[in-house]
């Protein structure tokens, strides 16, 4: 019921209008933005070359909103309604115009100007919505396309010495430059910095300080690093399961009588960072000084890397018993009992025939798990949803 103190507020349209965008927030994002020290966010899209290399089937062009740890895909949703943004009026209203709304305004009308006025300063025909696809976001596919593959054959020493000499003049990069090199790669990867860092660590990517190049080591290279560091650790009596100095491990890898390095120290550090137990892992910005490895996690990693290096495709599948034996041989004596096919990540391998085994690339692995997981999830969703589009869609499928 209208009462005496219900007031009329003059509603005006300001010209020129301003440009705004409306972004629908998720509960987590709202909490983040409402917090006292909210961090700056980033809108990231892949570079043109990366967008072509890593094709997203759902959207040819896209922008992701990245918090320090999370990534959201932005979707522009058109609305047939118009959303106006209002703000209190500044009173730049011509009194003559007010006749449109009130005959005697200004003198004896009920409107008190300019206090009681709001004005529309912008109109938005669409809002931006955020969503996260079922598989989440990962930096790995982008890093695989943007970083060069670091591969060195064992008989390649001469070539490498020559390379070292040629780059001696430039001098090694310092930590700040190394970071810059890495950031230059990551700026084009359209996911949050935490996810960039996780992906970088996952694939053991590193910055070659001598050559000033960012690399991702091949599976064979990672396996070589592992073999060298394990042998070195055994020789020098380093217990990988207890905290050790990464510098000591590096020394153990170097041959006493041979001055040349088998691979860059940054690569050893990248592998140590990957295998380091998670709560001791320093951020990429910090040097990894100390590390300790987890037996089970290491065993699994070595098994998968070995398979990726020796049997990457079904046509190059290796015998199962050979694989298990080789896998054991890659591990310290006391870890050999850990070896079992069940220790590998589900879906990380397949068997072209009953006696052989080969590796499955993570990108293909996800598709397998998605299709198997999607059906029950969709059925569960159909029960809870009130959206008839989804209800009908699932009925048809069955």
């Amino acid at each position: 019921m209208a009462t005496q103190d219900s007031r009329s507020i003059l509603f005006t349209n300001t010209h020129p209008q301003q440009g705004f965008r409306l972004l629908e927030l998720t509960p987590e994002l709202e909490a983040l933005l409402s917090s006292k020290d909210a961090p700056a966010l980033e809108l990231k899209s892949p570079s043109a070359a990366l967008a072509r290399a890593v094709v997203d089937p759902s959207a040819p062009e896209y922008v992701n909103l990245c918090t320090p740890t999370q990534t959201y895909r932005i979707r522009q949703v058109q609305s047939s309604n118009s959303l106006h943004i209002l703000r209190p009026s500044l009173g730049q209203i011509s009194r003559a115009d007010i006749k449109v709304v009130e005959e005697e305004a200004g003198e004896s009308g009920t409107l008190n100007l300019p206090d009681e006025a709001v004005t529309a300063i912008a109109k938005c025909g669409s809002t931006l919505e955020l969503h996260v696809p079922p598989g989440g976001f990962s930096a790995v596919p982008f890093l695989e396309k943007s970083l060069g593959l670091y591969e060195k054959r064992s008989g390649d020493d001469d070539g490498d010495i020559a390379m070292d000499e040629s780059s001696n003049g430039a001098g090694a990069l310092g930590p700040a430059e190394t970071r810059q090199m890495r950031d230059r790669v990551l700026v084009d990867v359209p996911v949050s910095s935490a996810q960039c860092e996780a992906g970088w660590t996952e694939i053991c990517a590193f910055v070659d300080e001598e050559q000033g190049v960012c690399w991702r080591p091949s599976a064979r290279m990672r396996l070589n690093v592992w073999k060298r560091l394990m042998e070195g650790a055994i020789l020098q009596g380093i217990d990988l399961e207890k905290q050790f100095l990464v510098g000591d491990l590096w020394k153990s890898v170097l041959d006493d009588d041979d001055a040349s390095e088998p691979f860059p120290r940054a690569l050893l550090e990248a592998v140590a960072r990957r295998l380091c137990v998670e709560d001791e892992r320093p951020s990429l910005a910090d040097e990894i000084k100390w590390a300790s490895f987890d037996k089970a996690e290491c065993t699994q990693w070595v098994g998968e890397i070995y398979l990726a290096a020796t049997a990457p495709t079904p046509s190059s599948a290796t015998g199962r018993s050979d694989f298990l034996r080789e896998w054991k041989d890659c591990l310290p004596e006391s870890w050999r009992d850990e070896v079992a096919l069940s220790k590998l990540q589900p879906g990380s391998y397949q068997s072209p025939d009953p006696t052989t085994i080969c590796f499955v690339e993570p990108s293909q692995r996800q598709q397998v798990s998605k299709t198997s997981a999607a059906a029950p999830a969709a059925a569960a969703k159909a029960k809870t949803t009130r959206n008839w589009h989804e209800l009908l869609k699932n009925q048809k499928r069955r």
């Binding site: 010209h15 409306l22 709202e30 700056a40 990231k44 118009s82 206090d115």
Partner: protein, 157 residues
């Protein structure tokens, strides 16, 4: 252009205010619930407000020259009314069910104040950034005034 910074309210160096915002605080006549620190509020119409466009084009040009402030003006459209709202009883939310928007003198739309299912961040290009494009969150809005019905004829109020 791979990355654009989206500043949040506390990440900026200076306290952010939307472009063209008044330098002194302006009285906000809306009910308390709809008031936000920046004064911005949302109004949704199942309709379009038509304003003459010939002038608009001229003004757009002057905006490019940085004269936006001096040429800005307001055109009255109608009146907003919250008939059941009382400032003496702001906790009672029944008033939200009825809002009137008079268009001109003889048409009225009836709407309501709705809590947004998900809050909406109002983004704007950051003022004073040269060369690089930067955005900022100028406000987080949690309610909107929503008119979904057609206007009905009324007598002059």
């Amino acid at each position: 252009m791979p990355s654009i910074t989206l500043h949040t309210r506390s990440s900026g160096i200076t306290q952010t205010t939307p472009a063209n915002a008044p330098s002194h605080p302006v009285h906000n006549p809306l009910p308390q619930l709809l008031q936000t620190p920046s004064g911005l509020a949302l109004l949704e119409l199942q309709a379009t407000i038509n304003v003459p466009t010939s002038e608009a084009e001229q003004d757009d040009r002057s905006e490019d020259n940085g004269l936006a402030n001096s040429t800005s003006y307001e055109t009255p459209i109608g009146k907003l009314m919250f008939p059941d709202y009382s400032i003496h009883n702001p906790d009672d939310t029944k008033w939200m069910k009825r809002v009137y928007l008079y268009v001109g003198r003889y048409q009225r739309m009836t709407g309501e104040v709705k809590k947004l299912p998900r809050p909406i961040a109002v983004l704007q290009k950051r003022a004073g950034t040269v060369g690089t494009e930067e955005l900022e969150v100028v406000e987080i809005v949690r309610y909107k005034v929503f008119f979904k019905s057609r206007p009905e004829p009324v007598n002059d109020v």
